[in-house]
Amino acid sequence: MSMRPNFAAAALAATLAGCASTGNKPVAVPVNRDPYPSTYQAYPGAPTLLRGATVLDGEGGRIERGDVLLVDGKVQAVGQGLAAPAGALVVDAAGKYVTPGVIDIHSHLGDYPSPGVQAHDDGNEATGPSRPEVWAEHSVWPQDPGFSRALANGGVTTLQVLPGSANLFGGRSVTLKNVPARTVQGMKFPGAPYGLKMACGENPKRVYGSKGQIPSTRMGNIAVTRQTWLQAQAYKRKWDAYEAKGGDMPDRDLAMDTLRGVLAGEILVQNHCYRADEMANMIDLSHEMGYKITAFHHAVESYKIADLLQREGICSAMWADWYGFKMEAYDAIPENVPLVDRAGACAIVHSDDPNGIQRLYQEAGKAMASGRRAGMPITEEHAWTWLSANPARAMGIFDRTGSLKPGKMADVVLWNGNPFSTYTRPERVWIDGALMYDANNPRLRPVSDFELGQPGQGDVK
């Protein structure tokens, strides 16, 4: 049913174009930029006052004995001594922490779901090094049990699901609210911009080199990437002219549509890239071709060029302590996140892992502790920006979520202790003001279709 308005719009546009074509130049038919629109609807939530917590607001602020008021799905107020509106649910949060929900900028949940059988291997369209035409959302299996673990154990309220890194251009990402739904459309974050997954380094050259194709080297990676952008520029010129002046509709190309969206600044580049020298190459490449890199992902060597990343305004999405699993991860160090942060560059802690996403808060804790040991004073309230404000900015949704500011989505976690510690778990999680998880209420624990009727169904997991 959700398709109907778009069909209608398209039909209307076609009709208008048809009428207009009686003149000497047909008017351009607009391309539908949102053909798989979000059908996500916030679930109902009671007005709720969290009282007396340590509040980390997600953009660097901290309030002791703080209150957070959630009304109509939004954060209504944050402060001390807030009055509960009539009928509001009041939660005693003394001795606990309240934060914005964790945002994972790098996940493959749904695209590489559990169980990890071959039939579910939907993350890499590894049939050609440039595949900007594929969209991660068309691989997402909403029944992946991993979503529920990320919610209940990790306090994850929003995540970006990306294609894998086999390709230089992996395809479009999708941003999801971590609310179970029957369809991926039912999880899509309304109005979130698309991302484009790009990759440099070992993976693309290994995948295609082993097939005897280009790229088989890092220089091949760069050459194919540049060549593809040249195509995109030509495509964009054609379509920009058509949309401005009408005339014969150029052929549409899904791959080029995505790249044109990047060149137009509508789609954010999420670039898998480990090594410092390769990031520098990709930065020059982006300048050459006229686009902006929003974030480097798995950026284990960002600490070597943190100054450059700061100047360029590029975020780094990083692990706390992963190292050594491949050659381009050999120089990973546990102070990467804090060193990037200290340089004034945007630091993000990401998971890329269905287990890691359940403990991103602990990963941030490890990164904070490593930084402190190395002499960098990092406050808890600042470290939480790695999990909420910074990823929200790099996903283009910071105006709607990612911090506890009035008017923002009430995506909130109540933690039963210090939210960087191994000893802490989410106690309750609200998404758009609806209570989606409550550790004390077994009925507020989602069970995917896959797990229904299986041993352990509904277990605490």
């Binding site: 673990r149 050594g324 699993f325 060193l339 490890k366 191994t422 778990r425 041993p455 277990d459």
Partner: protein, 460 residues
């Protein structure tokens, strides 16, 4: 500088022998690692490379080197309960990785020659307080992976504490794949191999190494000297054999109960098949690895007495053999009386064993959740120290601060099960270890990015 000199001395083998050192670590919060809760203001004494005493009322011997651990925590070194530590420097680099083989041999493979004490993962885990590791090979093209070892992470060239400690095999999904595509195939392969080994073993004396002068009853000693030695060449074999002679010979100590048979299985029904093996081959010394669904058959595992080295936080139905996986698995098995330990099974196990203490901390946290089963703090620490040692029959030697154990001791900045803590001093066999790694050196090189008079490459 002093540290690098010490390292140099260690590498040259010229360090003062451990027996010359007596060390007393005083005033710390001491956790023994045997399941007991930590003790404030405790003392740990190490002499001749062994723990002499640990606890609240321990006197400091005269002449001891005294280390003040006030405000710190002192525990036994972390024992990686199941790992591939030392077998790889970089996972995705074939030449630097020795976890599995596609060659002609399987059960005969002995990982000891592959252990590289200079590998970065060894140094990183040492610097993170992991002092010993149970190291298993991975399967190549058989259900038999070969023989695993216990190693230490010391900064010296003698890493292997016990070689040929166990034979590692895959049942379950991986085993079935290796055996040709089904569980029955894997079970027949296993039984056939044990039959071939039994036949071979009947023509051999029980000890396969009478020349090394060790008079200990080999059945009391989990270490097999060398089942592959050349005099087995004369053993007669029937024509109906699948295994190479070396592979069959390697399984002789297994069927005779002198070498542990460590079996990886996750699914409840697979676990019960392992329990049943014991009835069929009563002399087998079994250890189960994995057991994601162990909680569903915990009473039967407990009754079998088979130790289990489990993944602490596995909670996804990652495959059809782990459908019932839950983080409560360890706590529930423990509550049912199963001998449980924590390992990092197929979990970045060549290099991330140091995560195990955080995993243990997570199981303490789990105890606060309604409906979940967690662990006490003391039991959680034991899961990554003494319990894995006990699972492989070495609880008298490593894994706790009880008197007589090896002097593997870590001084932590704070509670080691919380992720804010770090190892500040690490002793292995009573010898203090260097904690510098490539990671610490890279951090020092790049922590200041302001341009210097020379490139970063000159900052050493």
């Amino acid at each position: 500088m002093i540290r690098s000199m010490l390292l140099g001395a260690l590498l040259l083998g010229t360090v003062v022998p451990a027996s010359a050192q007596t060390i007393a670590i005083v005033r710390g919060t001491v956790a023994i690692g045997d399941g007991s809760e930590p003790i404030g203001n405790g003392t740990v004494v190490i002499r001749d490379g062994r723990v002499v005493a640990a606890g609240p009322q321990v006197s400091v011997p005269a002449g001891a080197r005294v280390i003040d651990a006030a405000g710190k925590w002192v525990t036994p070194g972390i024992v990686a309960g199941f790992s591939r530590l030392g077998l790889s420097d970089v996972d995705a680099v074939d030449g630097a990785t020795d976890t599995s083989s596609e060659g002609p041999f399987s059960a005969a493979l002995d990982i000891a020659p592959a252990i590289n004490p200079n590998g970065q993962p060894v140094a990183v885990n040492r610097a993170n307080g992991v002092t010993r590791a149970i190291v298993a090979p991975s399967v190549g093209k058989s259900i038999f992976a070969g023989q695993g070892a216990l190693i230490d992470t010391g900064a010296d060239m003698d890493a292997v504490t016990r070689s040929r400690l166990f034979q590692f095999i895959e049942l379950g999904e991986t085993g079935s794949e290796q055996a040709g595509g089904s569980r029955p195939a894997a079970h027949v392969l296993l039984r056939n191999a044990l039959r071939e080994a039994s036949e071979l073993g009947r023509s051999l004396p029980i000890s396969s190494s009478p020349t090394d002068g060790d008079q200990a009853d080999p059945r009391q000693d989990p270490v097999v000297r060398n089942p592959n030695e050349s005099r087995l060449n004369d053993a007669r074999r029937s024509q109906d054999v699948l295994l190479t002679r070396f592979d069959a010979a390697a399984l002789v100590p297994v069927v005779q109960g002198r070498q542990i048979l460590m079996i990886h299985a996750e699914r409840a029904s697979d676990l019960l098949q392992v329990v049943a093996l014991r009835r069929e081959f009563p002399r087998l010394r079994l250890v189960i690895v994995g057991a994601d669904e162990g909680w569903t058959v915990a009473d039967r595992l407990a009754a079998s007495g088979i130790p289990v080295i489990a993944s602490a936080l596995s909670d996804l139905p990652a495959s059809f053999e782990s459908v019932a996986a839950t983080q409560s698995n360890v706590g529930r098995m423990r509550a049912a009386g199963v001998k449980v330990a924590i390992g990092t099974i197929n979990d970045d196990d060549t290099r991330m064993s140091f995560r195990a203490r955080h995993y243990a901390g997570n199981l303490v946290a789990l105890g606060k959740l309604p409906g979940a089963s967690g662990l006490t703090w003391g039991e959680a620490l034991a899961m990554v120290t003494s319990r894995p040692a006990e699972a492989v029959g070495l609880g008298e030697d490593i894994g706790s601060l009880r008197a007589g154990r090896r002097g593997d001791v870590v001084i932590w900045s704070s509670d080691p099960l919380d992720n804010a803590s770090a190892a500040e001093a690490v002793f292995i066999d009573g010898i203090e270890q260097p904690l510098t790694t490539r990671q610490t050196r890279l951090r020092q090189r790049y922590q200041d990015l302001s341009p210097g008079v020379l490139p970063q490459a000159y900052r050493q």
